[in-house]
Symmetry: C2
Subunit: 118 residues, 2 copies
């Protein structure tokens, strides 16, 4: 299985943790694979988070105590659930508003106001 994701993956850089935290905020506890699938369906298969990006990001968030984990066994298969810590709850809001600020700044550059269509 290999699906070509969005054209510019570069833009994902710096937004992945925001995405993960927001998904956990919205859906409560989730496991890694579940996050990638939810993001895919949410974005109509446009945004595909690779495992090589996802798991290191989750581990980093855990090391930073923004998420906490609990293991479960589904049959013999291990599943690692992630959920927000109190710090994580705060971090989501920060990250999301940072992103929104950034988009607003980008709009200033991308959609410059002229005397005609300003």
């Amino acid at each position: 299985m290999y699906i070509c994701p969005m054209h510019s993956k570069e833009l994902l850089k710096g937004s992945l943790k925001t995405i993960i935290l927001k998904m956990l905020k919205e859906h409560g506890r989730m496991y890694g694979y579940e996050i990638t699938q939810k993001v895919r369906t949410l974005t109509g298969d446009e945004l595909v988070i690779t495992e090589g990006a996802l798991y290191p990001a989750l581990h980093k968030l855990e090391a930073d105590k923004l998420v906490q984990t609990e293991q479960e066994f589904i049959g013999k298969r291990v599943r690692r659930y992630y959920s927000l810590t109190p710090s994580g709850e705060l971090a989501v809001e920060e990250k999301v508003s940072e992103f929104e600020s950034f988009v607003q700044m980008m709009q200033l550059i991308i959609q410059p106001k002229t005397s005609f269509n300003g």
Copy 2:
């Protein structure tokens, strides 16, 4: 002179070339330092492009033939003007619409539609 830029510089990653190309598109030919200053004033000192990011990005764009340069001397000081090549003209549109697609995808994640406020 050292001004603290936006909180999350991570987000810049992947957008810098888009910014540069769009600035050249809007303002015609520009030199590096001019780009940083224009971006700063445009964004109310929020987005500060550092030299260590700017010049390598410009050199990369030149190597990729998206921009072309001409040197000028202002007194004894060299100034290197950049402008879009035909490929660069195409690339701006691509990059900008990629960015806009990305933002739309992020909105799907960040502002999920509920049955109440959807």
